[in-house]
Symmetry: D2
Subunit: 456 residues, 4 copies
């Protein structure tokens, strides 16, 4: 038997290859699917099945890719009008050597959600592990707000039944393999730990510490979740079968002149360097999304109807950025600036810079400079932790559509939890004509760490 | 938090790096220690502790290597006269960021055996996982025959107390991280599955299905385990601190002439190619130990007082063989035949071959050829499954010391479970003057698969 | 400027990526084209051109693959009815940054052969290196027997003019980059050295040490070259544009039963393990072509109208074998035996073995055993070096079509230069019902090395 | 035969492994020597010799490392009081299979300089290639200013004799393998091309286009070369045998607090991120040396008597920086900031920023702001190309020792050829109390590219 995890950083997406005796199944593959085939080859196993725990909404699922390359059958749950694959129901089983994978219908996060119980029949017919998709996470449960108008309460109740009626009865001893880890947009309270069991979650998962189904449901209904605009496209792709990627694209290297021409023709320039590098010098009009933030923010800030060009520190970073974007369905990454920003600089082209403020300087400015606009781009829920009095709040994901809420009376200082999201915000402001923009590096985490009194 | 497994194939040895927030500990490292440092670097963590679950007897532990390279402190259990490291006792704790590692004294396999409970204090003070060393495995418990004369019963009782009194009370929900997987010489019944929990083992581990402490003890005392001669050296090394390896040695490439000269001066030639390749053509005097069998058999068949030369299919296999041997403390691998066996062949030097028999041919010969000597080299316990009537039994590990038990009246046909161990046996026989030796490829597994009637 | 070599072992095929300032060209790419794109990405260069020095006959050229993936333009020479790409003529130039690539028509090996002179215009307009395709090699010139009926003399004269009239005048100081190294079927006398210049070849290349054009031509006409049957297909593919490979196929792992069923349905089983392993034990009906001999012998011995199954030592060797076969256009490698030969052995299925003779034993047998058939499978030209008196000669490449020339009066001992090709021969004989076959390991090289008197 | 280049980027250092038939030699190895041993292993060759073309002054030679790990003999030239290795003279030869390496004494760059002619005796006794060390480069010759007081003229004459009397007579057809490529401090005019021959250099190397020995000598004497302070240490190390490195060090990850404590105790903080990132936000007191500039600038700016801490973008960059520094003998890289600059920022610690100016803004400021100090940190020779009127010139390498030449009357704008060296300069200025410092990104290259009129 073998069981390997393929993790997509940024998305905090966990997919699995599990197999025995020459046969394997893949659970929730991503679109750049080479990793799954490599693992199967290493174990001399043939991928016979791809199982989707649900119609994912936060990335493009790679089932069709894997199926096309291996002949595997794609399986998914009922209550969805799929355009591909085979719908299976409670109790459906597949065998891979000594392993048995058994389908459990566990709706709630979505109506077609499945879990898959894994038994090692050489040892026992009992489950030893369970793939829970977005139903149950380490330290959290799946969100239930995606059910659609008017059905949130129904979905939350279903989730309760799935977790308490289907999963937990498998036994405390069952190892948990969820579809996401800490950092995913599919939950808010996931623990930064990739090891857990149903028993540990039963006892310690905060979301499961309820006295009644009603309490569980009310809590779900009280949660606030973001819904990035790209979810719609993911949902569509993952219902009808996404366009085949085959391979990750290789954007072509272009010089400053061609880059500029392409930008004028509508290509959006994404600068994937570090926040500090973007602050130090950047190309006017660029959107700063550091490469490890692409998975979280590209879906909010980029569209599917334009080409994307990249500025990166080197070819390795270009390739990483392309992978992150492809997983969100952004396949139009057509070029990157050859030689990186230095090529632009030495061509004598215009640069922009944003200001950098440290926490001490922020402390000096707060309350003393009436002209300054303090812009908080965190999620609403984060404001409950601490606030900067007097700050304007516009969530980063909505900033492009709510720019008019940012006063243009004077310089803007953007901040967030650490200074990273506010760097993205600064790039959006400057792209839209704000010309005096600074970022508070460290932001709220720095304020807390240094015991700043100006936050409340 | 991160937790990564480093697996040494062949030994079926599992070691772990676990850490959080810039600090890490290594559990039971192997001697070629680069992997641990690489993992720690990737997570930007400093290895502050090395924990040995016990004085290992089946490989050279790499604690001293890791400590020298990182400054980490080595921790191990009481009841042993260690020449290095620090002895810790029940309840000793270390913190790595949010993680807490807590020592449990779990003697039985050996008297100084420890387990280490891992808690993610960000979530709970309860253990979420436990490193059990050779106390509890997936599907088995540690052997208790190493306790020394007259103390086997005591050790078996201790193991019962450790498992039932210390480990299982941690809770069904606790994930199990043992020091060995299926195939290790440290247990006989381990499952071929690397995922388990205390609960799953409590319910399904055959060794734990007992009605009383006495029953458990009697079962242990009834087990028969091999004790390869190299265990003594491992035990010594791992008590006093093994010689520093620093890096895996790189044997020099030599031509046929130099190889022959070295063999005459006492170097032992180990042929690590596949069994079939050795059967097809080999150098007289060579011992066949295919590279993936080195971890299991080199300790039985090689000594520490002579140099070793290798014949392999290429430089990659040479390097793999060197690693396997170094983990057993065989550091005198001084050379390999450059160009592999073809270099020997084209130099016009003498070759030997052994015969290959398939199962059909064996069926024809059994009982009809009175001259033939059938040699079964399996472990005694395996004979309980099935036998070839009339076969002489000498366990492979003892063959060099019990050669006189093999009749020299006629051709010898060696067999085992699959034909692999019997190829090693054939090489030993030929090295000691047996000149008509054949191997039954497939052996008992083939007999069973083909429904052969000549076995019983 | 950068210039990297991509070498395909076995084929001894040399291809090149050369570029400067963001632009690159590929010379004579192979079909599995990832390597070229990786190199270009590393240098942040865009592949704008693919240059074919000629219509290759010994492998499938990857021009169409590279062009499809990069948008590059394919360039090749006149005198050929190409179905793709652009025909260019003497003096055609492309610029890549400071580099200039200039086309020289250098027919002879074939009529459309080109060379490409490379100048570093930042330093001088003179050529600093030249890509010579199959016109001029290190230590040899291209063969001229492929010109077609009646045109061999014309072709040989053209080659003289190309080398002496076009290449050498570029100057002694020009570095040589040919399309093949030692071991290729495209020449016989290539040196085992990958470094040379036009000057060094002018002085030391044996093929250039002639007093006249006529002498050069006569020597060419006196050469004997093999023409494997797959050349026709390569020539066709490379004229019309080969089928797109996209990616190397991944044959599926199958068990003994399915393998047997496929063999009965016409799949040809190729055993790519070492010669010694095949001799030790093999599956009846298998053709032995060790993986590093595939490039040379698969084209003689396999057809394009049947599926191929593989037996290998492990998944890494399967992948290597697939690459070798794909480069020759064998795309129907559909499966491999999961678990390798041990899976077959332990299933109790029939095995065959061939005999292994060392040189001393051969010396004993020669001339004393009238029943034995000695079979020499070397090329005709090699017989001029030394012979075994009384041996039957059938060149390995023609053996399947000339089996009736091998007497069936008694056991056959196959030999060649080293024992490797004769192992392939043994597999073919056994596949066709010869049941007592041995291989002389070491063969003629061993005879020479040991001063054997039985050869002449 | 095999010949592989190992290139150390940054140093533009070229070393070589050449071998045949199981034996190999290494020419001018670097200190982190794993690469040489890996190559030799791949070819199943034993490294028997290490040849130093001269006592290198720009990096620590790895001869002692390679010798210790392989038993190879170290060879170097006469006229030096070596503390290790064996001195060889004109005509000394070693054989490696069919290869012959022959020593030529070619003094001039230094008095003990050797070249090594390589012959492939299977083809001819003539040289096919020559390793020229720092005697002859692609497009340049070695500098002769290191000879010591009063001997520069003598050295320059020797170099003429070496090139014209020893090397060129080997023949136009001989391939050139020098010890450095473009970008090295060992020459100024090297071409950005790694392919050349003696003939190409004879005709096109600007340094060889002289009418007389005297003209050659005068040109050498007219050259101005930098001599970084670390050269002395390299010269010492390379004469007596450098301290063994064994492995590249792994600096430990530390948090902001420990980093600060170490800095207060004398550790120098080197920020190896990109110039733009340093400009955007950096730790006060840090010296900015982007990782790919370490090989050129660490030797000017760092000392050997203090520890070094690193700030990098991630663990991969830390490892690269460590390698660059170790090659210059900086072995005291003890720690790096775990989590990179964001860890510092979110701890609420102070940040500094420098200003960024683009070329348009510079054009606005030039001549209009009398307060501004324009600081040109290029080499003296570069000022001959173009100047910014009114700028103060202090070469970057000497800036720490000539700070008093930079007026403190107002803000400083640093510039150089591209903005990279001036970022380093800005970090030095700020470390020494200059508080209003800006960098002109793009600098002179940008001015030229944009046709700026303010330079002359």
């Amino acid at each position: 038997m073998f069981l390997e995890v393929v993790k997509s950083e940024g998305l905090s997406h966990l997919s699995y290859v599990v197999g025995d005796a020459g046969e394997a199944a893949v659970i929730d593959p991503r679109r750049d699917s080479e990793a799954y085939l490599d693992i199967a080859s290493r174990y001399e196993a043939r991928i016979t099945h791809v199982i989707e725990t649900h119609r994912n909404e936060d990335y493009v699922v790679g089932s069709v890719e894997v199926a096309r390359r291996t002949g595997a059958e794609v399986l998914h749950g009922p209550n969805m009008d799929w355009d591909y694959g085979r719908t299976v129901e409670e109790g459906f089983e597949i065998r891979l050597g000594n392993l048995r994978l058994r389908v459990l219908e566990t709706p709630g996060h979505t109506f077609e959600s499945l879990s898959v119980a894994l038994a090692d029949t050489g040892s026992s017919e009992d489950a030893v592990a369970v793939f829970t998709g977005d139903c149950l996470f380490v330290g959290d449960v799946g969100r239930t707000d995606l059910a659609g108008e008017g059905r949130e309460r129904e979905a939350a109740g279903m989730l309760y039944d799935s977790v308490f009626g289907k999963l937990l009865p498998l036994g405390d001893h069952v190892v948990l393999y969820p579809a996401h880890g800490a950092g995913s947009v599919c939950g808010t309270g996931m623990a930064d730990r990739e090891v857990s069991t149903l028993g540990y979650e039963r006892i310690h998962n905060p979301a499961l510490q309820v006295r009644s189904r009603d309490e569980f449901v009310e809590r779900r209904l009280g949660e606030r979740h973001d819904r990035p605009p790209y979810f719609r496209r993911m949902e569509h792709y993952n219902r009808v079968g996404a366009p085949l990627l085959d391979r990750l694209p290789r954007p072509i290297p272009v010089g400053p002149e061609e880059l500029e021409a392409r930008m004028q023709a509508g290509t959006v320039l994404v600068d994937v360097r570090s926040p500090e590098a973007w602050l130090g010098a950047s190309i006017p009009g660029s959107i700063a999304i550091p490469k490890d933030m692409l998975a979280s923010w590209a879906g909010w800030l980029l569209g599917y109807d334009h080409d994307v060009a990249l500025v990166a520190e080197g070819p390795r970073d270009v390739a990483e950025a392309v992978a992150h974007l492809a997983r969100l369905g952004f396949d139009r990454v057509t070029c990157h600036l050859a030689g990186g920003l230095p090529a632009w600089e030495t061509a004598g082209r215009p640069l922009q810079t944003a200001g950098t403020l440290d926490t001490e300087r922020v402390g000096e400015l707060v309350g003393r400079d009436g002209e300054l606009v303090w812009l908080d781009v965190r999620k609403a829920a984060e404001l409950e932790q601490e606030r900067l009095p007097g700050a304007v709040h516009v969530f980063l994901g909505e900033l492009p559509r709510r720019l008019e809420e940012v006063p243009r009376r004077g310089p803007v200082v953007a901040f967030c939890g650490s200074g990273r999201r506010s760097t993205i915000a600064a790039s959006i402001l400057m792209r839209h004509g704000f010309d005096r923009v600074s970022v508070w590096m460290g932001s709220m985490r720095a304020a807390r760490a240094s015991g700043a009194r100006f936050i409340s």
